[in-house]
């Protein structure tokens, strides 16, 4: 079942992050940076695509999958356009994610404001 596979792979990737947070006191921002960089490297080495094959969205939804997407784009573009592709591939492949985050982020920021809920 691909849903169960997605659950397991996605869950385990997050567990790695949680263990890093609890053991190393790395801040969430550093963990996210680490995961993206790891995703790019594992993607380029051809290791991460195997995980995507098996885990589906469980491997692509975590931020490490975004790194994999960048690597995939870079390799495609280098094959197509040579050295220029090293500069175009990553952002091209990640464009939807980046643009969506900026767009929806902006809209939500305009319409809503921060609140405390834990008042009791």
């Amino acid at each position: 079942m691909e849903f169960i596979r997605a659950f397991i792979v996605g869950g385990l990737i997050c567990v790695v992050g949680q263990v890093l947070i609890d053991l190393t006191k790395l801040t969430p921002a550093r963990i996210m940076v680490l995961f993206v960089v790891a995703g790019v490297i594992l993607g380029a080495l051809g290791i991460y695509p195997i995980l995507v094959e098996w885990g589906g969205a469980g491997a692509t939804v975590p931020i490490i999958g975004f790194g994999n997407t960048l690597a995939k784009g870079v390799i495609e573009d280098v094959n197509e356009k040579g050295l220029l592709g090293a500069f175009s591939g990553g952002v091209r492949a990640g464009a939807v994610g980046i643009a969506a985050a900026v767009f929806f982020g902006y809209i939500m920021a305009v319409v809503s404001k921060p609140k405390i809920k834990n008042k009791a």
Binding site: A29, A57, G85, A100, V102, G105, Y106, A109, V110
Partner: protein, 147 residues
Amino acid sequence: MEQKRTKEEYKKWSQKQAPKSPKIKRILMAFLVGGAICTIGQVIQNALLGTGLDEKSAGAATTLFMIFIGAFLTGINVYDDIGRVGGAGASIPVTGFANSIVSPAMEYKKEGYVMGVGARMFLIAGPVLVYGIITSIVVGIIYYIIK
């Protein structure tokens, strides 16, 4: 007053007595929340593939949906609670990336739409893009050389 311990000793001595985070519980919650978010992603992806989109577009569109969900839940003041419970299970999925963009943007709205929302949006997500893109370029150059 002279200190009885060196700084190193004091740090060790006090840390030994510090309250510990419930590690097993946190790991379990990260697994459950992270797994659940990814499963939602899989459901969306399957639905998109069902509409006849090719695999690549469906993947990109799934990311788009997940980012929307993360941004929306942040905007209605819910994602911080998911993060409180799920820890890395909420911050590692791309919904957490969206949360890291929307939360500072909301917070700094009163500081203006340019230097507030516009600049602060990337407070946490900025480094992720910076290092992701730089690594991808380095990888591309290496690949070009060894290809």
